[in-house]
């Protein structure tokens, strides 16, 4: 074996949220890499959150799709793409090109997105190209376009450093955009920036707020309409800006007065007290430097676009836009949702921030030399899958997303896919639910993962950064743009798809953005249209607009020139707030959904990291204590959550963080990681009339306790298949995989099951069947292969001690005994700081030993010193731990 030459550190970009942090990856030559924050990247300046820090743990080839497959059989690329091209041609001939659809992803690189969009809209001739960004921020896009005439984020991250007031609405930034949240907290330290958090749920972000407004879900428009009224009545308006640069103010204000004439009305609609409302309005009124950052709580709503415009209205009315420390700020969820928007990879866009005005269609047609250019909008995600169900769409190509988990009414999606004549999935993970679904003909195409692919992404502040390759392509995995271009050539469009590199794709994309632009379109990166391959390779993060001539801009609209035909921004009269679906006696609760701190989307990557899986190991539902009492739910027990569309079984977390009458469940678990916990199956997804974004955070639901006989866990080196009928969730642990389960099987049956699962191995056991207790450790010689604990009753088993023991390959006798007794006390407790793997006990011990501040705790045990996303949890420990100490 030859020694590996030291590898070069590569500058790349994190593949998770829309913050778009710079990452330094140093490959180890064995398929892994050391990961660090890039101190020179303007988004993060060297910091990384828990998820980004753990990227190195997600690079294994376990579960990877490495070869093309057709109907479950391995094929060559030649054969697989031949099948795709042939079937596409056949569908187009028999049913028309608009029977073909593409469902793309904010995880794709801009280059992949561009080629997919071009192929579909210009050459195949189908308008049905949508993306999971529809579920993420399409309402923000629509609000931007209604207000600004363009999909423009006016500000930049530096505004968070320079604001005196940051209003976070529908955003759990502390967990979902941790690095930006750190910038906000730093601003508070440096300049006393006030933090207002508006959320129906008291999240970690809410815990950190100077003012937390726990509003009724869906009532944001009432709060911001009331704010507009207050600003007008208090004379805080920027009358000149309104007069010179906007239109529609009076109509919007009239509507706002109808909705929210006074604080009492706002209080009635939002459930807030008049005092809370007054405090917020006063703070907003007297603070010119205000950024209102909004995210999924605003967007994932049947009125998401109106919510966005209600916010933007307040910023336009005060002229607080496009200047340092001011502006509405959409925080995007995905690493390249913005890039997708730039290429136009959504059903209501054509390309490069151009839509369907005849001159725009003609311009794109000429630029692409496209024979089959489309002339109107296609179907947005929800409608698109409904069309599949109705048999209208016959061929679907899914790239880099997991709609069987994430789409509303996901069980219907799965059934609909089965009807497709052609179902193509470009995917990294072989056992993703979407890759396991099948159509009449199913083609799986192995895609490159982060670290293998090469291209660009755009973050929430319009900054284009390179995602660079630092690992070699595994198996036969191929860049998505290359697979798409190959199909384009097979369909007879050789010239249009003659791309030989990502750089070539990017140049064309940049060229289109500048094509006949002349300042009429916000998205112009003409300066990059002639980038050489070398310059593309070396390029540093840049913000758009970046026209060929003229200055680059950090912020837009301070000059009052918008991208409407008259260059004026529009105030939008919004609808009165209402949820799409009302609760009923049968479904008396409102189900909210969202993320946890350490997982990303459907866990196909973060699920591989034991550090990230330690924070929240099972899918759960948060229930207010009053509701827990009302429905007979115990903390840690299993409950069924049922809506009109589907059901899930989740572990109950009783917390005052959710309002009475509301539930919260995380979105991450899929059929690959849990028995029955797909959020998508439960939500109806009533769509916003403007953006088509489905409402995912307010579904009427019922909850009831589910009786299981026992709870337990199984740790194994290889991922073990749980038996039918068990409730389970799978999580990565040090040294293998963990399965937390609940079962109706008895301890004897479980003991038999272990014998069956681990035939030929030696089983060490503790069996007290009369009391329903069973623990088992499986050995191959001295090597610990698996261990299981089974305990009758609803109590959640503590597996920290066993996980610590399982991290060792061959435990000694005392540890072997501890595996059976379940008694060895863990030194760490549940993990709080995922970056450094510091547990609750260690932090409590540091506090008890005199570390009485977050900083001192960090100095003592490193917790909270990396990404800082656990700092709120550490802070929470401080007074409690001190009180205990004093007792």
């Amino acid at each position: 074996m030859t020694a590996h030459a030291p590898e070069q550190t590569v500058r790349t970009t994190c593949p998770y949220c829309g913050v778009g942090c710079g990452v330094l990856a140093t490959p180890d030559g064995q398929g892994g890499a050391a990961i660090a924050g890039d101190p020179e990247h303007p988004a993060n300046l060297g910091r990384l959150c828990s998820k980004g820090s753990a990227l190195g743990e997600t690079l294994s080839l376990e579960n990877r799709l490495l070869h093309p497959e057709v109907d479950g059989e391995r094929r060559s690329w030649e054969s697989a793409l031949g099948t795709v091209a042939g079937a596409l041609r056949k569908v187009a001939e028999q049913h028309g090109p608009d029977a073909i659809a593409f469902y793309l992803s904010g995880q794709l690189l801009t280059e992949d997105y561009y080629v997919a969009n071009k192929l579909a809209k210009g050459f195949i001739g189908t308008p049905h190209v949508d993306t999971n960004s529809r579920l993420c921020m399409s309402s923000a896009v629509a609000a931007h376009r209604r207000a600004f005439g363009s999909d423009t984020v006016p500000g930049c991250y530096a505004d968070l450093d320079e604001a005196d007031l940051i209003v976070l609405t529908g955003s759990n930034a502390a967990w979902c955009h941790p690095i930006l949240f750190r910038r906000m907290v730093d601003a508070r330290m440096k300049r006393g920036t006030k933090l207002v958090v508006i959320d129906p749920r008291r999240t970690q972000t809410g815990e950190e707020a100077d003012l937390f407004l726990g509003i009724r879900p869906g009532s944001d428009t009432a709060l911001f309409s009331g704010l507009l009224v207050h600003l007008a009545d208090a004379g805080i308006l920027d009358a000149r800006f309104v007069a010179d640069h906007t239109a529609g103010f009076e109509a919007a204000l009239d509507r706002a007065r109808l909705i929210a004439p006074d604080r009492a009305a706002v209080a009635h609609l939002t459930g807030l007290s008049e005092g809370e409302i007054g405090a917020f309005y006063d703070l907003f009124a007297r603070t010119p430097r205000v950024v209102t950052a909004f995210s999924m709580g605003v967007n994932q709503s049947a009125q998401g676009t109106d919510k966005g415009n209600a916010i933007i209205n307040c910023h336009l009315a005060t002229g607080r836009i496009g200047r340092p420390g001011m502006g509405p700020f959409s925080l995007t969820g995905q690493p390249n949702a913005m890039g997708g928007r730039e290429v136009g990879g959504l059903a209501n866009m054509l390309a490069a921030h151009m839509h369907f005005a005849p001159e725009e269609v003609d311009r794109v047609r000429r630029f692409w030399n496209a024979p089959n250019i489309i002339t109107g909008e296609g179907m947005k995600a929800v409608a698109l899958f409904e069309a599949i169900e109705r048999g209208k769409i016959k061929a679907l190509w899914v790239m880099g997303t997991n709609p069987v988990v994430s789409m509303p009414q996901a069980d219907r999606i799965k059934a609909a896919i089965a009807k497709l004549d052609l179902y193509v999935v470009s995917e990294v993970v072989r056992d993703a639910d979407t890759a396991r679904a099948t159509g009449r003909r199913t083609v799986l195409l192995p895609a490159l993962a982060w670290g293998e692919k090469d291209g660009t992404v755009t973050n929430s502040e319009r900054r284009i950064s390179r995602q660079r390759r630092f690992l070699k392509a595994p198996g036969e995995a191929r860049a998505d743009w290359a697979a798409l271009a190959d199909v384009g050539r097979r369909l007879g469009h050789g010239d249009a798809f003659a791309f030989t590199s990502a750089a070539a794709v990017f140049r064309q994309h940049a060229g289109l953005s500048a094509f006949e632009n002349n300042g009429t379109r916000d998205f112009d990166i003409g300066a990059l249209a002639e980038l050489t391959d070398a310059a593309y390779e070396a390029s540093r993060p840049v913000q758009w607009p970046l026209p060929k001539r003229g200055p680059a801009k950090e912020r837009l609209f301070a000059d009052g020139r918008f991208y409407t035909f008259d260059r004026r921004a529009r105030f939008v009269p919004v609808q009165a707030p209402a949820l799409a679906q009302e609760t009923s006696p049968e479904r008396p609760l409102v189900l909210n959904t969202g993320r946890v701190r350490d997982h990303w989307h459907t866990m196909t990557r973060t699920g591989k990291s034991q550090r990230l899986s330690a924070h929240r190991a099972v899918p759960f539902v948060e229930v207010h204590p009053e509701d827990a009492a009302r429905f007979g739910l115990a903390d840690g027990a299993i409950a069924a959550v049922e809506t009109a569309h589907g059901a899930a079984e989740l572990e109950v977390t009783v917390t005052e963080g959710v309002r009475p009458g509301h539930l919260f469940m995380p979105m991450h678990w899929s059929d690959a990681t849990a028995s029955r916990a797909r959020v998508g199956a439960l939500v109806r997804g009533a769509t916003d009339p403007v953006s088509g974004q489905p409402e995912l955070k307010a579904t009427p639901a019922a909850i009831r306790a589910v009786a299981y006989r026992a709870r337990g866990y199984l740790l194994s080196r290889e991922s073990a298949a749980p038996p039918p009928g068990w409730w389970w969730a799978r999580a990565a642990v040090a040294g293998g995989w963990g399965l937390l389960f609940a079962t109706r099987d008895g301890s004897r049956e479980t003991a038999m099951l272990m014998r069956g699962l681990f035939q030929g191995y030696e089983l060490a056991e503790y069996a007290d069947h009369a009391r329903g207790r069973y623990r088992c450790a499986v050995y191959d010689g001295a090597r610990l292969v698996a261990c299981l604990a089974y305990g009758a009753g609803a109590a959640r088993p503590d597996w920290e001690a066993a996980k610590a023991l399982f991290a060792h390959d061959a435990p000694e006798v005392p540890e072997r005994r501890a595996l059976l007794s379940g008694r060895a006390a863990t030194q760490a407790g549940p993990v709080v700081c995922a970056c450094h793997g510091v547990g609750l006990d260690a932090i409590s011990a540091s506090i008890a030993a005199g570390a009485h501040s977050v900083e001192a705790v960090g100095a003592a045990c490193k917790a909270g010193t990396n990404c800082g996303s656990c700092i709120p949890e550490i802070r929470k420990l401080l007074p409690g731990a001190l009180a205990r100490d004093a007792a």
Binding site: A764, D768, A777
Partner: protein, 417 residues
């Protein structure tokens, strides 16, 4: 024969004369407790059949294996007996007891008058009633002389067969294996130590034996030992033939009754005693392996020690009664701790709670009937054995304590961080 007396100890006529027959471990413990509790109360004479004073018989297997030397087996030096006014006669078999005249006959001619007599004569190893058991090279394993004989036979390349899968047989076999002798252990039952261990525990002990180099044959019924003038082979009932240079018999012991019987004392399996260890003659007592109390004879040191305690207190004039020793075995099979108490095999109406980790040499079984502990078998880890014995004896409810019994009660935690 030698007679040792302490010249510094003047006769004190009023004292009762106490003669102790036998100088094994039970005898010595009795003498120790008696001289602690009632120093000088009796004029004590102790007569041992072996040529040396009481030694630690439990260590014989270690001595055989060379783990310890002979000095490690010593208990009390001769000076201790002298200091405590005990006349000790060693190598002196008591051949008869003349109850009418209160005399113990030593050897052919010597007589020792007594007012009270304690029989601590132990037991004798059983020899199978099979052909060839008297051939040279067939030995028992009971005392220092046996160890010497075995060691003499255990030369390089020698092959030994140990008959008997009880504790002593196991220890003899391990000792031989440790000497480098190819050793096979035969046991007629289907598991080792069947009176103390269930099948699984016995299996673990067998695994431990094998790990120590002993080949174990179960259901091995010896038919004959054969050889021309000396042991050459052993034949099993199933026809198998095992070559052997040495055969060690360890198939159990029989209480030594000859002396008591000829003296006309009541005997059953052993010399029958009451709760004060008195025989049918109130002046005569018995203890240790030769005694039968409430129909029970014991082959282990712990009951013998308890009996010695009771008798010493009784003879010191204190109230003391022996209630029998709970059927518990706690011992080490060549370093492997083993504990057994109460019921061994699971009755139909009882529940078994089991912890097993054969790879780590661990097995613990608790048998619970009607919420009470009725038996326990431990191998490899005998923690909480004392509590188990107590729980079996008292019949206290155990349902709430199962895991504490199984894994040990948590150590008291300090409140300080």
């Amino acid at each position: 024969m030698t007679l040792r007396t302490d010249p510094a100890s003047p006769p004190r006529p009023p004292r009762e004369r106490l003669v102790v027959v036998g100088n094994g471990m039970a005898s010595l413990r009795f003498l120790e407790r008696l001289t602690e509790g009632a120093p000088g109360l009796y004029d004590v004479t102790c007569i041992g059949a072996e040529p040396v004073a009481a030694y630690n018989r439990v260590l014989l297997s270690s001595l055989l294996g060379g783990e310890v030397d002979a000095a490690a087996c010593d208990f009390r030096g001769l000076d201790w007996y002298a200091e405590h006014g005990i006349r000790l006669l060693t190598g002196a078999p008591v051949t008869a007891i003349d109850r009418a005249n209160g005399l113990a006959v030593v050897g052919e001619s010597h007589v020792l008058p007594f007012d009270r007599l304690v029989l601590a004569v132990g037991s004798t190893p059983i020899r199978l009633a099979k052909p060839g058991m008297d051939l040279p090279g067939v030995v028992t394993f009971r005392d220092l002389a046996d160890v010497a004989a075995i060691r003499a036979a255990a030369v390089a390349q020698a092959r030994a067969v140990v008959i008997g899968g009880g504790l002593l047989g196991l220890e003899a076999a391990v000792g031989l294996a440790r000497l480098g002798v190819g050793t096979t252990l035969l046991h007629v039952m289907d598991r080792l130590m069947e009176r103390q261990l269930d099948h699984e525990a016995a299996g673990l002990v067998k695994r431990a034996m094998e790990a120590r180099g002993v080949e174990v044959l179960l259901k091995a019924d010896t038919e004959a030992v054969e050889g021309a003038g000396r042991v050459e082979r052993l034949r099993l009932a199933d026809g198998r033939v095992l070559p052997a240079d040495l055969v060690v018999m360890s198939v159990g012991v029989r209480p030594s009754l000859a002396l008591a019987q000829s003296a006309g004392l009541a005997t059953g399996r052993g010399i029958v005693v009451d709760d004060r260890m008195a025989t049918s003659d109130p002046r005569i007592f018995a203890l240790g392996e030769c005694a039968e109390h409430r129909g029970q004879t014991y082959g282990l040191v712990e009951p013998a020690y308890e009996q010695a305690e009771v008798l010493a207190r009784h003879l010191a004039g204190q109230e003391a009664r022996y209630q029998g020793t709970a059927l518990a075995t706690s011992l080490k099979v060549s370093g492997l701790p083993v504990f057994s108490a109460g019921v061994v095999d699971t009755p139909d109406d009882a529940e078994a709670i089991v912890m097993r980790d054969h790879g780590a040499g661990l097995y613990r079984k608790l048998l619970v009937g009607e919420g009470r502990l009725i038996g326990a078998v431990f191998v490899g880890d005998i923690g909480e054995q004392g509590w188990c014995k107590e729980l079996i004896r008292t019949g206290a409810p155990v349902s709430e304590h199962i895991e504490d019994i199984m894994f040990g009660r948590p150590a008291p935690r300090s409140l300080a961080a």
